[in-house]
């Protein structure tokens, strides 16, 4: 599998997949998609990169250990829920902020979106942790 072609393509493929995953994540609220599926795509991207370039390379690229992303994701999702404490409503209430961009369109910021991004990070972090650990274990043997 570790052919030259694969190794050459892999970084581009990874980048493409990550971009695509973000796209899937962001359209999730209105079209099929969402944090989970996006996270899976991103994790696959990282796994592919790991296979082609080696796990240590990926780890360097990620800066943080992937499991840290998972923790960050849970934290983010929880914070999205906790925001409703400031407006006297129950936990996990969807809060929306529509910012008029002036040209008729508006930018929608919301806690459900924050929450979904949290999901994305958790899936990304946990799955790539597993994949990298398994790949690395192979190297170690």
């Amino acid at each position: 599998m570790n052919t030259i072609i694969f190794r050459t393509i892999a970084p581009y493929l990874t980048a493409l997949m990550v971009v695509f995953s973000i796209f899937v994540l962001l359209r999730g609220h209105n079209e099929p998609g969402g944090g989970f599926i996006g996270g899976l795509i991103a994790a696959s991207a990282i796994a592919i990169y790991g296979i082609s370039a080696g796990v240590s390379e990926v780890r360097r690229a990620l800066v943080f250990h992937p499991i840290t992303f998972a923790g960050f994701g849970v934290l983010m999702a929880a914070i999205a829920g906790l925001m409703s404490a400031f407006v006297d409503v129950p936990f996990l209430m969807g809060l929306w902020l529509f910012i008029d961009l002036g040209d008729g369109s508006e930018l929608a910021l919301s806690t459900p979106m924050l929450f979904d991004i949290g999901v994305y990070f958790v899936v990304l972090g946990a799955i790539s942790t597993i994949a990298l650990a398994l790949e690395e274990d192979e190297d170690g043997k």
């Binding site: 840290t68 829920g81 006297d88 409503v89 936990f91 209430m93």
Partner: protein, 537 residues
């Protein structure tokens, strides 16, 4: 909340129109705090020295939240918060009644004690690979299971708890742990799967997942399939609670991980199964109690009698304790089988007792292992001389487990016996069979005290090991080092202190048990009104 578009007129009422005060949040703090704590600890996993203090801080905050929750519930009744401000049953409700709040509180207490104990044996690399986050997640799952008011959400918390327990089971990576985890893992996976299947069916029958809503709708279901669904729930929770004959995973696995982890499992995991049984069969599908009563009785009697026999047959002290845990499950099942307020009170009191006592027993045996170098009772002995505090702790716990007065275990047993005796005189075709359950409860006490006193005689009283050397002092005993004393023995003592004090002044404890019994029975509409508001009936 800002809303840009005008809403159409024919929308149903969707949201609560009263503001939620921050005081109502107390029902979610017991899960949010440990969950967030675990996430943060995971991000800080390389700072091993921060893990324990931070976990401790989180747990103290959780404990305070639990205290405030139970106080609210006891004074003002069942407390509900429906997530996302949606009207129930559309959002997920968290509904804390006395039973759930009580169990959540005791779980947190157990967790704090074990957190201290962990400091006496955890290794740095284990801390680095998530020992503390796993513990916090376990607490999240357990508390979530106790507090949620939604059946599918209960399943989710079961899984949270399960995966955290998997992690704790294997952390350390010894052979015996892996073997135990295989058995534990597959069987428990099946249990939660059965639970999920049951949820699917119940959704198909009543079209809702909110517990209060199910309470309203399930008695109206005319489809006979609901009996099978109830039986499926029974099987799922019975597996979780380690009820005979589907209990084999418990003695196969509880002696494998670190003593602290065993203690945590013994205290928390099986009780969630019992909680599920109480919830489903007394509250959600109340008609199933009558249908399954004979089954409850049979498995209660078998579990009560066979479990202490298992303890008697072991040479591994920690494995023996696993059987004692199951014996307690039998007693709780007896309460479920009775199904009267006294019976339920007995079951929930027993659950609280079992959480505290079994945890403490595992911790004590953990210390025995550390001093004696093994958990094989044939190679132990002489600890009576070596550590009198430990021997006293152990004896108290053994008698508490056997339900002898004046220790904690007596009161739930007494309540259960009273429940059973009052049933025997009723004009009910089952009346006579209640004597079997009563007899099993008594026999369980006797067998447990035999098994316990034998353990005590072998581990502590005897000078040396099994056989001819039994009079020669055991040379393998090492005194506890400072770390073991401060972080191991003292927390155990504190927990036993709680057990003794509550055993001697049990009035508050018993009151809590009866309160929770009141909240579980269908006779109290408290639960439904708490979720749907006063004029929902």
């Amino acid at each position: 909340m800002a809303s840009s578009a005008a809403t159409p007129k024919d929308l149903p009422p969707a949201m609560l129109d009263v503001a939620t005060s921050i005081a109502d949040w107390v029902v979610v703090w017991p899960i949010v705090l440990p969950m967030v704590g675990a996430a943060i600890l995971l991000m800080l996993r390389n700072r091993t020295e921060w893990q324990a203090p931070f976990s401790f801080a989180i747990l103290v905050a959780t404990l305070l939240a639990n205290f405030s929750l139970i106080q609210t519930v006891f004074t003002k009744g069942t407390l509900t918060m429906t997530m996302g401000n949606w009207l129930p049953p559309f959002g997920i409700s968290f509904t804390a009644d006395s039973l759930g709040a009580l169990f959540a509180l005791v779980s947190t207490v157990v967790m704090i004690v074990v957190l201290f104990f962990v400091q006496s044996e955890v290794e740095d690399r284990e801390t680095k690979y998530g020992y503390h986050p796993l513990m916090l997640i376990l607490l999240t799952g357990v508390s979530g299971a106790f507090l949620t008011g939604d059946l599918f959400n209960l399943y989710v918390w079961f899984e949270v708890m399960l995966i955290a327990s998997f992690g704790l089971m294997v952390i350390g990576g010894r052979k015996i742990q892996l073997d135990a985890a295989i058995k534990y893992g597959f069987i428990n996976f099946l249990a939660t799967t059965f639970f999920l299947i049951g949820i699917a069916y119940i959704y198909g029958l009543v079209g809702t997942l909110n517990m209060a809503d199910i309470m309203v709708k399930a008695p109206l279901v005319e489809n006979g399939a609901i009996a099978s669904v109830a039986a499926l729930f029974f099987l799922a929770f019975a597996m979780k609670a380690a009820v005979f004959p589907v209990n084999s995973w418990l003695p196969a696995s509880y002696h494998a991980p670190d003593p602290a982890v065993s203690a945590l499992f013994a205290g928390l995991l099986t009780k969630v199964g019992i909680y599920g049984l109480l919830r489903v069969h007394l509250m959600l599908i109340p008609q199933s109690h009558a249908q399954l009563q004979i089954a409850f009785m049979v498995v209660a009697v078998l579990t009560l009698v066979l479990s202490p026999l298992g303890a008697l047959a072991q040479t591994n002290a920690r494995r023996a304790l696993g059987f004692l845990v199951m014996g307690g499950i039998g007693a709780m099942l007896a309460g479920l089988a009775f199904g009267t307020p006294y019976g339920i009170a007995g079951a929930s009191l027993y659950a609280v007792h079992s959480m505290l006592t079994m945890t403490a027993l595992y911790l004590a045996v953990g210390l025995v292992e550390r001093m004696g170098g093994t958990s094989d009772i044939r190679h132990l002995g002489g600890l009576y001389k070596a550590s009198s505090p430990l021997s006293i702790l152990f004896l108290i716990l053994v008698f508490a487990a056997a339900g002898l007065p004046p220790f904690l275990g007596f009161w739930p047993k007494l309540t259960l016996l009273q429940a059973g005796i009052s049933l025997t005189t009723q004009k009910d075709p089952l009346a006579v069979y209640h004597w079997w359950v009563i007899g099993a409860l008594l026999l369980n006490s006797l067998l447990t005290s035999i098994a316990g006193s034998r353990l005590w005689a072998h581990i502590f009283w005897r000078n040396g090991r099994e056989g001819k050397q039994s009079e020669i002092p055991n040379a393998n005993i090492k005194p506890l080092d400072r770390r073991g004393f401060v972080w191991g023995l003292l927390p155990t003592m504190a927990l036993v202190g709680i057990i003794v004090v509550v055993g001697l002044w049990p009035s508050l404890y018993i009151q809590a048990g009866f309160e929770s019994a009141k909240s579980v029975t269908i006779f109290s509409p408290n639960y439904i009104t708490s979720v749907f508001g006063e004029n929902s009936q």
